[in-house]
Structure formats: C-alpha cells, structure tokens
C-alpha cells in the first residue's frame, strides 16, 4: 500500500493498516505535529490535508489513504521558507499553548487553497470545527485574512 506523504511516495506497512492515520503519522513516520485531542473527529487537533481536503486523521483509517496525497504541517514550509499561512500565524502571534495550532493551520491552508479570498462566512464554515481552549479564535480569523492578502499581493 503506497500513498504520497508531503510529496514523497511512502509505504503503509500491513501492521499499520488498521491504525488511524494520526497514529501512522505520529508513531510510524515520526511526524508529531498533528495531535490527539479527542479521538472522535470533534476537536480538529489532528487535522491534515488528504487530497486537498482538511481531514480528521484520528478517525481516518490508515489503509483508507492508499493512493492518496497527504500533507501534514511538517510538509508546509518549502526550503526553509514558511508557508504564507504559517508566516501569518507567526506575524499575528496566534498560538498560545500551540497544541491545536497545527490542525488550525492545516484547516486554514485547505480553506485558502479552495477559496483564495474567503468571506467571513467561509472562514466560519471552514474553521468552526477546530477547537482552541486558549481562545485564539480572533487571531486565527485575522491571520487567515492576513495570509489571504499576503498571497494576493504576492501573486500580483
């Protein structure tokens, strides 16, 4: 079983087929950016992008991603340069404890890939399922707007 992980073809060993994608990433590939928060797809701390879609890796079976393209937080920066969403998160000092933020960032990246200039309603719809107990929501919203503008400026 193969899949593409952050741009590279990887094998899913048979003994990992029935694990969650979250466990596969964390315990087999050592990519620990995605976090366990609830184990039921409710909090969004485990969010990664599967074939362009923000996906809760804790309720996604490893074997179900065969042939798919998976992007995790570790695969966002290219050659040391942060992704615009990561940069926006830093510029606006979004994280407090930081535990949910990989999931927040991946949801935001998926949103901006689909809708480069999201409305407030678009942000609501894409981000409402990612919980943050520290209360960084205002900054998350602002950082998404900021990243959208930076990308628009960069594209011209």
């Amino acid at each position: 079983m193969d899949f593409v992980l952050n741009g590279e073809i990887q094998d899913i060993p048979d003994e990992w087929a029935e694990e969650s994608l979250l466990n596969l990433l964390r315990d087999h590939f050592g990519l620990v950016g995605a976090k366990y928060g609830c184990g039921a797809g409710i909090c969004g701390a485990c969010t990664v992008i599967v074939d362009g879609v923000a996906t809760r890796s804790c309720i996604t079976l490893a074997e179900s991603i065969e042939g798919a393209e998976v992007r995790s937080i570790e695969g966002l920066a290219t050659g040391g340069a942060l992704h615009p969403v990561q940069q926006a998160w830093l510029d606006l000092a979004v994280p407090q404890c930081g535990y949910c933020q990989a999931g927040q960032i991946m949801s935001a990246v998926a949103l901006l890939n689909e809708i480069p200039s999201p409305s407030e309603a678009d942000i609501d719809a894409a981000m409402d399922g990612n919980l943050c107990r520290c209360g960084t929501y205002g900054r998350i919203r602002a950082a998404i707007r900021h990243a959208a503008i930076q990308r628009a400026v960069g594209a011209t």
């Binding site: 404890c97 409402d128 943050c132």
Partner: protein, 689 residues
C-alpha cells in the same frame, strides 16, 4: 543540588548563582514552599558558555508566553541580541522551583532573573569567562529590564513560535524513546470517592490482539479510591482493542455520598441549618430585610484543555526518567519517589511544553501510570489519557451556590452579605484524604474558594462567608480559582444594586471604589466602548444590551470589561463585542498580555454559555467535547483590549480579566432581556420571548 554537581552538569562556563542574597529582595522569594535552598543552592537559570547564553526556563510554558517574556528580560539585562540566548526547559536536576500557577511568573521570576543577568553581565564585562558569579542584588530602579524601552514593552517573535507553526514543538506525548510502548490504565466507571477495582477480566482474549504486551495489576497509587488495571501494547490502536477484549467486570464498593450535588451545595438549605464557617469579610449587616436578595448557581466545569494529560516513563538502572507536561515537576518527582520508594534524586522529571493546563496539571496522574507500567514491562511506556479519561479521572472547577443580600440607602450600598457553598479548590479532594481535608477545613478553610469574595467596593457593612463540602466528583484549581465564579456573582449583584438605586452601573461602581487603579480601568473601558448606559433595544425581534463589570485579581491586577449581546426570540444568546481595559503594572510583552486578556474573555463566554460537566449519580458521564462543549470560533466576537501604561511592579495577567468578563456579559443579558442570569450555563428557554 551541590555546587560541584551543578557545575559538572552544566559543563563549566560562567553561571549566575543566586543564593544567600535572596531574603533582601523587594519581591516574594521564588522558592517559598519547595525545599529551602541552602547556601550552596544555586539558580542556574542563565549560563554563559562558549560565547552563547542559555536560559533554562524556571517555569513551564503552557501558552501564557512566559518563555518569550523571560527571554525579553534576560536579553535586556544582559544587553544582548534576541538570537544570543538559547532557551531550554527545566528538569528536576535544576534547583527546585514552585509550581507554575497563579499568574505569578513575571511577578516573581522576572526580578531574580534580571538580578542574575545583571551580575553575569558585570562579570563578563570584567573579563571573566569561568566559574560561578555571586549575584549582588541591586535596586529595582537599577535594573534595565524594569524600565520600558527596547525589548521591554515590545512584542518580539514568540519563543518556540516557529516550532509551533512547523509542527516541531514537542509536547509530552511527542517524546519517542527506543522501544517505546503504549500504555493505559483502565478504571471503573464510578466516583473516585468510592473503592473500585477490576474483579475479573479475559486475559486470553486480550492476548490475541496483535500488539498485546501485558496486563498490569499494580498500577501505582489509586486515583482517589479507584484502583486501575493497566494494559500495554506495542501499537497505539491496540489499546482500545485490548480494553474491549478484556471485558472487565468492575467491583464498586458502594454508592457515593452527596451524589445529588446540586442539593449537597444548595446555599439556602445550608443557611437554613446555620452560619457558614469561613469568613472572608467580617462586617455585620444590620437587620433582616434586604433590598436585593439573589441566588446564583454555577456548575462543575472541566478545564477541557486540548492536550489530554500525558507522560513518558523510562526506568534505567533503578533510576526513573519522566517526560511530562506538568505544572509542577518537583511535586511529580516527589510523588513518584514516594510511591516507588526511591530517593528523589533517582527520579528526573523533564518538563515539556504543555498543551493547555489552566490549573488542571498540578497533580501526578499520567506520570504515575506511565511509571508503573514501564516498571512492570521493563520498557519505556507512554500514557496519554483518552478524552473520556480526561473528564472522568481529572479534577474540575467545583460547583458553587451563592446567596447575595444587599441593602441600599441614599443611592449607595450600606449592607452587603455574600454566602457561598462550594467544594474544595486548593485543598482538593483529588490530593487530600478525608481526614486531612477535615483538618484544613477546620483550620484554614479553602482560600481558593474564597478568592474573589472580598469586594473591591466601599460599603458600610460587608460580610462574606463560605463552606466547602467534599463531593463525589473531585474539584480543584481552575483558571482564577474562585475569582471567576465570585466575580460573576459580585458583579451581578452590583448591577442589580445600580438598577435599584436608579443609577448608571459605571457611575454607581465609581461611587463605591476607592482604589484609583480600579477606578481608572473602569473609566477607560467606558471611554473606549463609548459607554452611554445599558443601551437596551429591540430590533426585528433581536434584543440587544450592554453590560459592564470590573474587578481586582489577587489584590494587584485590574480589569474592566464592557460586553454587547444580542438575544434572539428563541433565547439564543450571542456576545457581539467585548472591550477590556487591563492594568497589570509594568508590561514586558503587551501583545502576550493582550492574548491572555483575549483568552480570559473567551473563557468568560464559556462560563456563561457552555461550561458544564455532565454528571449523573455522582460520577462524570461526559466522554467527549460534544458532551462538554467549549466556545467555538463562531461564538467569539471582536475583542478590543487596552492596556494601561504603568511603571508599577508587574503583576499577573493570566487570570485577571476572568474577574470581569462573565459579569459584564451577564449584565448585558440582563439589560437586553430583563431577566437576571442566575443559573449557569444559561439555557435559551429562560430568555425566549
């Protein structure tokens, strides 16, 4: 630790030592309740080696931004660039520090760090490169880090910020050791106040699960009275499968006492039986008839931080190594040494970045389980609680039931009486046996429950009293301790008093305030929010209103909040805007103080609209966030925070705005609907038209 060992551990270089001079400092000592250091003990927080500085963070970082703030202090005092200082997290081979609690980190640790850095700077300037430096303390006014300018009052890139946004920041559950196994301790679905244990289980079925390693009967100390059965597996998902295959039958000794929690803490029932035992304010209200009498009930609430408790344990040659996201590494070390019969020096607890704690990570729980399982299987073991275990095995903000009675005359409050029933916060049932708690109840009460009952208003006669009762669900510290609930209650009563007096609630408060810093935050929030009164209005069936509240946290941090709300005909409540003015003295990092205000205000929304732990028959039944909701992105309005520029000594910011946020929102709802919010979390039907 002896100096020689310390020097060996740090590999030489120039180390700022803090020891004998401590008592002379202007501020509270940094190590009050931990083993007192002898003259040789040293704080090696800041080290210069090979042209670089290493700051060993004497606090844990859990989102409060202390790593960034203390690095700003160190850079400023040393006079070096941001990149010149590398940051590392402390472990218990460092000299003991007290738990990271109570919004104390800047208030108590910035000055010692600045003193150490200033002496280190002097030594370097004198050309020294080796050996310990005795810290000669200087007056606060001579420290560069206690004057605004440069990095002080600036907001540099967050320490560890780049790691967080790239997924590289490590939390306890991210630690990997060679041969690491996965463990879990299962416990009966019962109150931790009653004895319980596994009586039968099907081991042979569990052994069939691929990845099965062990069933462990001795899992260290019980969680309350709940003895666990441990399981260990080589792959994480096997734990769920093993737990199911075991088909454990649990023996539960009895039903818990006080299982009807609302009844157990009912304030009016308690008052009908006599006076409450613990006095916070000692005035004697006159007469028996009051102008205002209101009852407020607040439920159990979970911390609900997104990172469940986690630890990795590894035994080697009779020594125990723990990686943990704990607020109190030295307590964890001592608790483990006690249970496993070790010298404390044989246990090392490495602190990790914490994914939210809010008071919930001060005991030794996942660490205990991981250590026991690792010992049993002879391999390193990671334990991370499931979300259901987080709710079931944790401790929580206690419920509280309040009765407030006020008398007014001439537009002022003359008599104030606040009576509260609650459960324990500082002397938590989760840590104290019944007999010991009975002793603390008798001697000191529970200052955590009392926090926030002392009102910041001048009235003729003020009384505040409380009692605590041991409940079947364990309670303990939660952001702000009693200050959040008590602030909500006090500020609700002030609002009702202003209404009774026919006064504007802002002006009415000012009439009762003598502390100029409190008056200032209140006036300023009124200006920024353009306060013109409670502005009750209705438009297309949507009722809107404004509320205001203020308060003091731990006698030296100030906040005032204005809230706007909109209430639909269904009774659905939305907070539509929040303003906060905040005074915590000298601000090291304004952006991070703002972040703490924002967090407190989101928690305020949660306190009003969602926080409630699902409990039935004295045990927690909530298993996940859908049964214990926390505020979501769409519930959080624009928040405007203003910080007072001050050169007063820095005080806390992590729990201050929670004294005013809930009251402001409650008062806005009262303005919009005419209904006084009294039972939390609020139910829409109460406010429907």
């Amino acid at each position: 630790m002896r100096r020689r060992a310390f020097l060996a551990a740090t590999g030489g270089g120039l180390i700022a030592l803090i020891g004998a001079g401590m008592a002379a400092w202007n501020q509270v000592p940094v190590i009050p309740k931990r083993p007192e250091p002898d003259a040789d003990a040293a704080f090696g927080w800041i080290v210069h080696r090979d042209g670089r500085f290493v700051l060993t963070l004497p606090r844990v970082e859990m989102g409060q931004g202390i790593a960034t703030a203390l690095k700003q202090v160190a850079c400023t005092e040393l006079g070096v660039a941001w990149q010149a200082i590398a940051l590392q997290l402390h472990d218990t081979s460092s000299p003991p520090v007290k738990a990271t609690v109570g919004s104390e980190s800047v208030a108590l640790f910035a000055e010692p760090l600045a003193q150490a850095c200033s002496s280190l700077r002097d030594a370097l300037e004198a050309g020294r490169l080796e050996g310990p430096v005795a810290v000669s303390t200087r007056p606060l006014s001579a420290l560069r880090a206690f004057r605004a300018g440069g990095l002080i009052g600036a907001s540099p890139e967050l320490a560890q910020g780049r790691d967080i946004v790239t997924g590289a920041a490590l939390y306890a559950a991210d630690v990997v050791r060679p041969g690491l196994l996965h463990g879990r301790v299962l416990r009966a679905p019962a109150s931790p106040e009653v004895g319980s244990r596994a009586s039968t289980w099907n081991r042979s079925e569990a052994e069939k699960i691929p990845g099965f390693v062990a069933v462990v009967e001795d899992c260290g100390s019980a969680n309350g009275q709940a003895k666990g059965l441990g399981i260990v597996a080589s792959r994480p998902a096997a734990l769920d499968q093993i737990a199911e295959a075991l088909a454990i039958e649990w023996t539960v000794d009895s039903l818990p006492e006080q299982a009807d929690i609302a009844r157990a803490i009912d304030i009016d029932t308690a008052l009908s039986k006599g006076k409450l035992g613990n006095r916070v304010m000692d005035g004697a209200p006159e007469g028996t008839s009051f102008d205002i009498s209101m009852r407020v009930d607040i439920p159990f609430a979970a911390h609900a931080q997104i990172e469940p408790r986690a630890a990795v344990a590894e035994w080697k040659h009779g020594r125990l190594m723990i990686w943990s996201g704990t607020q109190d590494a030295f307590y964890v070390r001592d608790a483990l040494a006690d249970v496993f019969g070790l010298d404390p020096g044989a246990v090392t607890v490495q602190t990790m970045r914490i994914g939210g704690a809010f008071g919930g990570k001060v005991l030794c729980r996942a660490e205990m389980e991981a250590a026991a399982l690792a010992q049993a299987v002879g391999a390193p073991v990671k334990v991370q609680w499931t979300r259901a275990q987080e709710f079931a095995f944790g401790y929580h903000r206690p419920p509280s039931s309040h009765r407030l009675r006020l008398k007014l005359s001439g537009g002022r409050i003359t008599d104030w009486d606040h009576q509260q029933m609650s459960s324990h916060i500082l002397f938590t049932s989760a840590g104290l046996p019944v007999w010991m708690q009975a002793a603390t109840d008798l001697v000191v009460g529970d200052p955590g429950v009392a926090r926030g009952m002392r009102i910041p208003y001048w009235v003729d006669r003020a009384r505040a009293a409380y009692d605590t009762i041991r409940l079947p669900v364990h309670s303990g510290p939660w952001r702000g301790l009693g200050a959040g609930p008590n602030g909500l209650v006090v500020e609700s009563a002030m609002d009702e008093a202003a209404r009774t007096a026919g006064a504007d609630p802002l002006a009415f408060r000012l009439d009762h305030i003598r502390d100029p810093r409190l008056a200032e935050v209140l006036r300023r929030v009124g200006e920024t929010a353009n306060w013109q009164g409670t502005a009750a209005a209705e438009h297309n069936g949507i009722r809107t209103g404004r509320g205001i509240a203020c308060g003091i946290y731990k006698e030296n941090s100030y906040a005032a909040v204005v809230a706007d709300v909109a209430v639909e005909t269904t009774g659905h409540i939305r907070v539509t805007r929040l303003w906060c003015t905040h005074d915590c003295g000298l601000v090291i990092n304004p952006d991070q103080v703002r972040a703490q205000c924002e967090g407190n205000l989101v928690w305020s929304i949660g306190m009003l609209l969602s926080d409630a732990l699902q409990i039935e028959a004295g045990r927690i039944t909530a298993e996940n966030f859908h049964e214990n909701p926390i505020p979501r992105l769409t519930e959080v309005p624009p928040i405007i925070v203003e910080l007072i520029a001050s050169d007063m000594p820095p005080s806390g910011a992590g729990e201050t705005a929670i004294v005013a946020g809930p009251g402001a929102i409650a008062n806005a709802i009262r303005a919009a609907t005419g209904v006084r919010p009294a039972r939390f979390p609020l139910q829409a039907e109460v406010f429907a038209t």
